[in-house]
Amino acid sequence: MTAAAGTAAPSALRRGATRTGVVVLVDVAFAGLLFVGTIVAVIALATLIWTILDAGWARLVSDPAAFLANYVSRIPANAGIKAGLVGSAYLMVLTALLCFPVGVGAAVYLEEFAPRNRLTNFVESNISNLAGVPSVVYGLLGLGIFARFLRMGPSLLAGALTLAVMSLPVIIVAGREAIRAVPEEIRLGAYALGATKWQAVRSQVLPAALPGTLTGTILALSRAIGETAPLLVIGLPIVIFTLPNDLRDPVSALPLLIFNWTSRPQPAFAEAAAAASIVLLALLLAMNAVAIFIRNRYTIRW
């Protein structure tokens, strides 16, 4: 039954022809409900960002140099994030140095060299379970073993080890996925030339898997930098007026400052917390942007 162009559809095919008005309304209402449900999360995010900016922007721009260069203080107007910002930076670098090689090494071994047996399966499920352990439990690990048993105390080394251990499963998973994405033909091509397994992995598979692995690592590190609980539990200081010179020196962190200031009753400290949050969010944004840039620019499209 073809209708000539421009004529209206016959009434039998119009919406609502067989479905009653109520049912059509329900469909529309349902779609609307779904949309609302989706939008609420977006609105909540927007509100959160707005709240932070509203509370902290003025504090941040009134004297940014002082805010970045000062240590903490009992007087909110004088409080600055220097110890926390520098501490977080040191922690991030040291954590990366600790967990990236180990994580990539484990990923390479599991994907390329490990025999397919029950032990390997056990290791793999072990690692995915580790990824779901709460960060505060990693903090307890850091406290019990690194800070107390190994007597590192609440130091830069203990903090970085704790964060590294926490990030390790995520990096292993990211590395494995990147390695798995390299097509088998590439490995076969290398073997057919007379390359050993390690030669094929080192010079063909790993370089191809590097962008994906780096992206995953940077994302994992950006999560680690925003974490407060593990550092709180191992006892990293909030009130500190020096920067670390040595791995065994105590170090503070930006999220710890935010936590402390948020917990204070004075409204001026709430502003300071918001301002520090802006700095933290900006830092995370930068790291995520780098990760996404690497992924988009360097990932090989097979």
Binding site: R116, P183, E185, I186, L188, G189, A190, Y191, A192, L193, G194, A195, T196, Q199, S203, Q204, A208, I300, W302
Partner: protein
């Protein structure tokens, strides 16, 4: 040479006449050539994947500086067999070879034999071109580097390999360009150049042109004719006419149900010089296949 190649099409008369024409058209250049050295000797070779017998009772010889073709319907074990010749089959878990494969009188699967060394002598080109995601130069230079060759000049080696693969003129100005940017036919010739760069003794080709267009296929076939002067070539192909055009000897494989299980096991039906196999096949099954009655 190319003009003498008859375009074989299925809708003009009977196929076996066409192939016979093709074979005759290749000329008598190969007649009366002195018998060449045997590179591979296969003696009652069986290949298993776990408990599944994929290929049984293969006896054949591959001769030096010849093109030997494996033809047959899908699932008859030709790819399995060619992968055994450079021990790439080792990479498949559960793969097992019984019987003897001798390479220049050495047991290919003997104790002390290193599959890595095997693959340095016996190269392979795959069905789907698989260049590394690197520059054209790096693709060629990779093989020599990993096997520890120290050529006087890597640049010369790269150029020589590309010339031999008939690719030099097309890429000489863009050696640093990523290999993935080349066309399919160029990529495959790059893979051939890559295989040549390590100075192999044998080049195995598993359906090298089946993923390519007819023009590229023709160029690869021309290339193989030149390559056989310097290398021994074994090629798996599902294209009979291709085998008839370029190979010196042909092995026809088929798959038949095994007793009891009903699983199809591959076996070598007939192995002879290409002329003979295509014009006067001994086995009924060979004739059926060549005339298109099955497969």
């Amino acid at each position: 040479m190319t003009e003498e190649r008859t375009k074989v099409s299925q809708d003009e008369g009977r196929p076996e006449t066409r192939i016979a024409d093709v074979v005759r058209a290749r000329g008598d250049a190969d007649q009366g050539a002195p018998p060449t050295e045997v590179v591979f000797r296969l003696d009652d070779v069986h290949v298993y994947y776990g408990s599944f017998l994929a290929l049984r009772g293969v006896n054949l010889d591959i001769h030096q500086n010849e093109i030997t073709a494996f033809i047959g319907p899908s699932g008859c074990g030709k790819s399995t067999l060619i992968r055994c010749l450079n021990r790439m089959n080792d990479l498949i878990p559960g793969a097992r070879v019984e019987g003897k494969i001798e390479y220049h009188d050495q047991d290919l699967y003997g104790d002390g034999v290193d599959p890595v060394e095997v693959r340095r002598r016996i190269g392979m080109v795959f069905q789907k071109p698989n260049p590394f995601p690197k520059s054209i130069y790096e693709n060629i230079a990779y093989g020599p580097r990993v096997i520890g060759m120290k050529p006087g000049s890597m640049d010369e080696l790269v150029e020589q390999s590309l010339r031999r693969a008939a690719l030099w003129e097309e890429v000489k100005d863009k050696l640093k360009q990523n290999a993935l940017a080349l066309s399919g036919g160029q990529q495959q010739r790059l893979c051939i150049a890559r295989a040549i760069a390590v100075s192999p003794d044998v080049i195995l080709m598993d359906e090298p042109a089946s993923a390519l267009d007819p023009v590229s296929t023709g160029r690869i076939e021309d290339l193989m004719e030149q390559l056989k002067r310097d290398y021994t070539i074994v090629i798996v192909t599902h294209n009979m006419q291709q085998a008839a055009r370029i190979s010196d000897r042909t092995a026809f494989f088929n798959a038949e149900p095994a007793e009891g299980t009903g699983d199809r096991t591959g076996l070598l039906v007939e192995f002879d010089s290409t002329d003979t196999l295509f014009t006067h096949p001994t086995d009924r099954r060979t004739e059926d296949y060549i005339t298109g009655r099955f497969g």
